[in-house]
């Protein structure tokens, strides 16, 4: 199965943007649906941004694997443990305290599954995306 592995991405926005560009370009050549490409890019963007923003010191590793029916993305880092649970974002307009959790909520809602484990002082997050996810049509507004 085709795969890509990025080892020890420095925790910086510049490095993050470069990895997102590289993995995106790699996925584009893998014959996945437009919807799956979008969701995989959301996963990459949100997980790496979260790690850069909240992860403290240490590097991040990323891998992507395209299988028959799904795309598996795996992220490992040495940042503090976190709760990947399905929480609704908190909006002050709705009585919440900010918009914390927006990125993880975005990922969990679009992806097929998200598994988290803390192993050897590392966060290991494995996210699965349906390879043939359909993209909503142009008429699907957001109202």
């Amino acid at each position: 199965m085709p795969s890509i592995y990025v080892e020890e991405m420095p925790r910086s926005w510049e490095a993050m943007k470069e990895v997102v560009r590289d993995v995106r370009a790699w996925l584009e050549g893998r014959g996945i649906s437009d919807g799956a490409q979008y969701v995989a890019e959301v996963v990459l963007e949100e997980m790496l941004a979260n790690a850069v923003e909240h992860g403290g010191m240490g590097e991040i590793s990323v891998s992507a694997l395209v299988e028959e029916e799904r795309i598996e993305l795996c992220f490992e880092d040495t940042g503090p443990a976190f709760d990947p649970g399905m929480k609704e974002p908190r909006f002050p307009e709705k009585g919440g305290g900010g918009q914390g959790g927006l990125g993880l909520h975005h990922v969990r809602t679009l992806a097929r599954s998200m598994d988290y484990e803390r192993s050897g002082g590392r966060n290991v997050v494995t996210i699965s995306v349906d390879r043939w996810s359909p993209a909503p049509g142009p008429g699907s507004g957001g109202g």
């Binding site: 926005w13 993050m16 943007k17 997102v20 919807g35 979008y38 969701v39 890019e41 959301v42 963007e45 949100e46 941004a49 609704e88 974002p89 909006f91 002050p92 307009e93 709705k94 918009q99 927006l102 990125g103 909520h105 975005h106 809602t109 679009l110 993209a135 909503p136 049509g137 142009p138 008429g139 699907s140 507004g141 957001g142 109202g143």
Partner: protein, 113 residues
């Protein structure tokens, strides 16, 4: 992410965004967007019809501008998101706190009410 200011006066700000609202796009053009929208202080309509990708950093940019305008008594609406971008906005709950309309006419109607 590209920012095109279609109209900017004391009554209305109309901005069209295009491209990717991701870390790269928002870090590059988010300042120009905020200057055009919150900086003007008038009611604002942001057209997302040509935005092809929306990450949470893009949603936060929209929410921050909406809050700044609302704090000053002005209104903020999102216009014309489509496809996966519309889906992202919907599932994140943005459409529950910021009005989303399908056309400029709807936005004008919303602001005149």
């Amino acid at each position: 992410m590209e920012v095109i200011v279609v109209r900017s006066d004391a009554v209305l700000t109309h901005v069209k965004l295009s491209g990717r609202m991701d870390v790269e796009g928002v870090q590059r053009a988010g300042g120009a967007f905020t200057e055009a929208v919150a900086g003007n202080g008038a009611d604002a309509v942001v057209d997302l019809g040509r935005v092809s990708f929306m990450a949470s950093i893009g949603m936060r940019l929209l929410l921050e501008n909406a809050r700044k305008l609302n704090a000053g008594g002005a209104r903020f609406a999102i216009c014309c998101p489509s496809g996966m971008v519309a889906e992202s906005i919907k599932i994140a709950g943005i459409s529950a706190v910021v009005p989303v309309v399908d056309s400029m006419e709807q936005a004008e109607e919303l602001f005149s009410s």
